[in-house]
């Protein structure tokens, strides 16, 4: 079974981003970039399925600028067998990425596509569902457990209020939640080996996909600042403030 894992290069989750002073966006120049944390979990899950003898090949895909190659090498160092880069300098929105992934799926015919549930930059939480819709395939979003057997995926999902378990025939689309697994660190020998793994290059035009953005960002602002709070000396003062000043209890 072949598994396709889309990965996104995003601003590292530890970076406190700054809004540009002209309000056109977030300043990402000279900021540390990494693989989106949910995508690391997706790669890890695919590699575990390969180690369990269920998957035969894991293919990582990334869409974006040339530097996304580094993200693909990271995926290959974790254990993906090869990479595909769809290279473009255009801004890519989830609908466009889903179309690019559909084109890649049609070339590769994976039986399972594992994506992160959301990217921590645009926080959209759309691409997996959109791909499933375009491919007319079942979806299991926010997965915290995935079992593959007899041509079926049985997936436990994190929902408001608890968990639910779905079963669906393959091929299927799964998006990962945080608790699915603990991604491994890439070891130095594996990072070296990853440099030799094959990496194919396409452009959106090669795939016949129009990626022009549908949503126009008019401005990006800082969120309203909270006014500075006070430190209280003890519990009695805290309760007094909550009762008399804030009037919330």
């Amino acid at each position: 079974m072949k598994i396709l894992v889309p990965v996104k290069r995003v601003v590292d989750y530890n970076v406190k981003v700054r809004v540009k002073s002209d309000n056109t966006g977030v300043d990402v120049a000279n900021v540390k970039m990494s693989m989106n944390p949910f995508d690391e979990i997706a790669v890890e899950e695919a590699v575990r399925l390969k180690e369990a003898g269920i998957a035969t090949e894991v293919v990582a895909v990334s869409c974006g600028v040339a530097q996304c190659q580094e993200t693909l090498r990271t995926a290959m160092a974790i254990g993906a067998d090869r990479g595909i880069l769809v290279q473009t300098d255009e801004e890519l929105q989830p609908l466009a990425v889903a179309k690019l992934l559909k084109a890649i799926c049609e070339k590769e015919n994976p039986e399972l596509v594992v994506l992160g549930k959301q990217a921590i930059d645009d926080d959209a939480n759309q691409t997996g569902q959109m791909l499933a819709s375009m491919m007319k395939l079942p979806q299991a979003t926010f997965a915290s457990k995935v079992a593959i057997a007899d041509g079926k995926a049985t997936v436990t999902r994190e929902i408001d209020g608890g968990l639910e378990t779905l079963t669906m025939p393959l091929p299927a689309i799964v998006t990962t939640d945080l608790r699915l697994n603990e991604p491994r660190y890439a070891t130095l020998p594996n990072i070296m080996k990853a440099k030799k793994k094959p990496l194919d290059n396409f452009t959106p035009a090669d795939l016949g996909v129009d990626v022009s953005p549908r949503l126009k960002t008019l401005k990006v602002e800082e969120p309203p600042k909270r006014s500075a709070g006070v430190k209280v000396a003890d519990v009695a003062e805290l309760v007094a403030k909550l009762k008399n000043e804030a009037k919330v209890i």
Binding site: Q118, S133, G162, E164, T167, T217, A246
Partner: protein
């Protein structure tokens, strides 16, 4: 303009999140149709027909909507979407699961998790874990939108909409529900609570979490929440998690106990009206957003606080 709002429900009761989504639809303006897809969901349809602002309730009652599976519900919405200028659902796990599927079928962008309506085609939404607010404009014929529930005041009753049965779409038969394990709680629901008491790694164990926080939550009539660290350490189930990847909350009072205040946690609670932090580390980032901070050992401060509220 007419707007289709997707009702979230469990076939017996409408979820509070629907009331916030209707409020966002009212802010856009126009006729509001509510779609109730379910099985044996007549009571839900009657209840939502009384909600303020609703023009019409469309009910698709069929066995294959009983589980609210994304494939079937999205198929139904897509088949009904033409003629509407907007399709809205709450940005809960239900709405997030279903609506992008609808948007892709209609070949339109989806606008996730809006926090404000600027005009019929322009909306504000948070990006980068709430560290920036983007204003986006859509040129699509149908705007498919999920609504951050804490950003819109729930609508009340006072309407009398007509209820119409509509035909179900075909059963896609793509996936089936094996079972659900829902967390049973007597406390208010996290997303809708007026007061939240939330615990982090500083509590040290699940036992401490329950022993210290439950009496305090009971005194305040509060819901219980947690940081990711507390969930990962197994103190509480994951649906307690507040943050970028958990629930987004905005109660009147949020009490953060033994929580350092990582960016991802703040993303889930920094719109709370009043934030109280109890932490022994006075450098903890949580104090930068807390209205009232108490630098103290939580094992002494929390029982004292519970006692003080007596």
């Amino acid at each position: 303009m007419s707007i289709l709002v997707i009702a979230e429900h469990d076939n017996a009761e409408v979820k509070a999140s629907t009331l916030n989504a209707i409020a966002a639809a009212k802010a856009i303006g126009g006729d509001i149709d509510l779609l109730v897809a379910g099985s044996g969901c007549g009571a839900v349809a009657e209840a939502v027909a009384r909600l303020d602002g609703v023009t019409r309730v469309l009910v698709a009652d069929a066995a294959h909507y009983a589980d609210q599976g994304a494939e079937n519900v999205a198929e139904l919405i897509s088949s009904r979407a033409s003629g509407y200028s907007h399709v809205l659902a709450p940005a809960t796990t239900f709405g997030k699961n279903v609506l992008p599927r609808v948007a892709a079928t209609l070949d339109v962008a989806q606008i996730s998790d809006i926090i404000a309506v600027e005009s019929a085609d322009t909306f504000k939404r948070p990006i980068y874990a709430g560290n920036a607010i983007a204003t986006v404009q859509s040129a699509d014929a149908v705007k498919v939108i999920t609504v951050r529930t804490t950003a819109f005041e729930a609508v009340g009753e006072g309407g009398s909409a007509s209820v119409e049965a509509i035909d179900a779409a075909v059963d896609t038969g793509m996936s089936s529900l094996v079972g659900r394990e829902l967390t049973v709680s007597e406390r208010p629901e996290l997303g809708a609570a007026g007061i939240i008491v939330s615990g982090g790694r500083g509590l040290g164990s699940g036992e401490n979490y329950h022993q210290l926080l439950e009496p305090l939550a009971d005194k305040l009539g509060a819901a219980l929440g947690a940081s990711r660290a507390a969930v990962d350490a197994g103190y509480v189930p994951n649906d307690y998690q507040v943050g970028q990847t958990g629930k987004i909350v905005a109660p009147q009072l949020y009490v953060a106990i033994g929580i350092s205040g990582a960016i991802q946690h703040l993303a889930g609670m920094k719109d709370s009206k009043v934030i109280v932090a109890i932490n022994k580390d006075e450098e903890a980032p949580i104090f930068q957003v807390a209205d009232y901070g108490l630098v103290a050992d939580l094992f002494e401060a929390v029982p004292a606080l519970t006692g003080e509220l007596g």
